[in-house]
Subunit: 124 residues, 2 copies
Amino acid sequence: MMKPDVYAANCPTRQILDRVGDKWAVLILLLLREEPMRFNQLRRTIEGISQKMLSQVLKSLERDGLIKRRAIATVPVTVEYSITQLGITLAAAVDPLRDWAEQNLKDVLAAQRRYDAQLKDEAA
Amino acid sequence: MMKPDVYAANCPTRQILDRVGDKWAVLILLLLREEPMRFNQLRRTIEGISQKMLSQVLKSLERDGLIKRRAIATVPVTVEYSITQLGITLAAAVDPLRDWAEQNLKDVLAAQRRYDAQLKDEAA
DNA sequence: CGGGATCCGCTGTGATACTG
DNA sequence: CAGTATCACAGCGGATCCCG
């Protein structure tokens, strides 16, 4: 039932969690699941990401086989990023988390307020 | 079907993803789902975490209402951490991700090797 | 035992400028 | 358009010491 290796240092889960934890990676994955997109298109859609980060994250997602890069020889060059089959399955595994977030954020925020109020009381 | 706010800067999902992405948070959550634990017990089990980080993560997990801290007035003091109901549901949402990791890590690693080999070829 | 406080190095990240 | 290169900086996280 339990999976002990989760608590070791180099378990698969840890590596994937790092990926998912990446501030932008999942965002991009979910975007590309909807439709393929070009570099600046992603940049404009995501809003807040620097072009350095975008380029970096795209590269690492491609390296992991989660997205695919296709350069089209137009002038100027066009590059289209799309999700892979592997990426689609990962995105699917992320969905429960997204649903959880939407359903429970309110409770989390409430807990935070309670905790902070508690601290202020003790300080006084 | 699609949930557009996921791509905005301050969506719930982003906040939860940050939590899940935390290197230690999920690990601790999964541990405490198995059984309540004390501070140094966690420290020894996780191996690699500094006491500063552990204390910090525990505090933020408690603040989010995901775990619960109970101090027992023995000498010396005993403190027991346990998961909350909310924490249990989050852990459940993480399970698909853990399963995905175990099933697909091999593919990811293979993709990385292919990508790296490709780069080396182009360099030559 | 269960932490808090401090110092400090490293790297992740952003801004800017440049290129094919 | 789709990036790369360089620099400069903040903050994360580790190590250490200390306390109730």
